[in-house]
Symmetry: C2
Subunit: 248 residues, 2 copies
Amino acid sequence: MSPQTNHSLSVDCVIFGFDGKSLKVLLVRRDFINEAGIPVVDYKLPGDLIYENEDLRSSAYRTLGKYTATRDIYLRQMHVFSHPDRVSGDELKWLNEYYHVNTTRVVTVVYYSLVKLDRRLLVSVEEKGARWFDVESVCRLAMDHKQILARALEVLGKQFLAEPIAFELLPRKFTLRQLQSLYEAILGIEIDNRNFRKKVLSSDYIRATGEKEKNVAHKPAMYYTFDKSKFLKDNRLKFRLNFINWQV
Amino acid sequence: MSPQTNHSLSVDCVIFGFDGKSLKVLLVRRDFINEAGIPVVDYKLPGDLIYENEDLRSSAYRTLGKYTATRDIYLRQMHVFSHPDRVSGDELKWLNEYYHVNTTRVVTVVYYSLVKLDRRLLVSVEEKGARWFDVESVCRLAMDHKQILARALEVLGKQFLAEPIAFELLPRKFTLRQLQSLYEAILGIEIDNRNFRKKVLSSDYIRATGEKEKNVAHKPAMYYTFDKSKFLKDNRLKFRLNFINWQV
DNA sequence: GCAAAAGTGTTTCATGTACACCCATGT
DNA sequence: ACATGGGTGTACATGAAACACTTTTGC
């Protein structure tokens, strides 16, 4: 056995958005001719092979930039998928033609990203051959992308419990109901709304803006914001204190 | 710009052990001739380039197998390091010679591993050109391996708070003091020993064996074990219940 | 005035935290 | 008998969970 040299390295992005009701994922359309010579259409995660002189994160940003305005977008490396046959047969043929390469194996590094979905972003991706899908309603995807999506959903759930990343999916000003719906959608649970509000409002990082909803056929909700910079500052501090004794 | 094709993919392992006092990491000796033509010795993380027909996890196991008996070893994918110049100059020259390849860039996928250090394993690695180092006392390492180690320590700390992985570093039968020392070493804190015992013993998964220490110049400590299979079973269950309503 | 979603408090229970002394063994 | 580390209990504070009705707006 000797080291492999004829492989490729790709970066795929699982880009999540939230429309107020359900969690969405961005998928790009792929036109494909299968082994029977019949043209088929399916969907895949956005991604690309890496270029020289770019690291993986830059590659992920490059892909993100094709579909969104990449200002200040949450992006995390998730996992590498490396089964030797994860892209093979027709799929490998497609890939070699599409990218003009001649590879026998593709290892992919998956990033996941959280974006603030607004009306513009919901529509503008369509011109670029992409679409937002309800995560619940995705069935088949190209290659192993369905498994990758499933894994990303798992990781996202864990991250939601560990870090305040919900705000990356919400508009800068959001209502507590939106926040609660988001947690419910991602964790797949129902949350008591009095306890949820109590907990959220006890946080130092969530502040009422004073602005309220307008033109709604019910009591208008207050808009809140998340003070991310204060959170980051305080948590650097907390981290430092961990190296000093807890008790004294 | 076009896809990169002349790169290599490696797997490096951060292998942690615990000797009862401090956290150790396994490093392998590297004999190296620098650009001035002077032979130098330094240390690096164990690792290798990937082979054909093996996925990354298998590659990590292969490396683990060089130094340890790979039965039932905790192994997790951690992070990919991909800066285009992370291996360059002399380091790249060394790598191309050592592995008989001709590559311009090496992307590495890092796994971390937790092993049960016993007397045998402490010594046996030395014949294979490796050594256990106290993590606190590691200064320089080859390539970017020092940064990789630093990152692994961070991740390990977080994992320790999230999952019961301490037991992967301890012998099958351990005393509560050993367990406590391990948490203290990894988290860099002191823990009140009454509260610690209370918390640990309230767990369903930690059980007294009935055996006690022998030949110690103080009150002999009870040995405990961690029931990993029960833990895994119960947590599968918990996971399923998350898809049903918490409240009703 | 009615439909629709926002907003609000109290009690109970479980968990976390602070804290100091006696016990069993080998030498 | 003494040195060494093992082992124990209580009081207090904090956080989680259960639970139902009033308020504000548009139509």
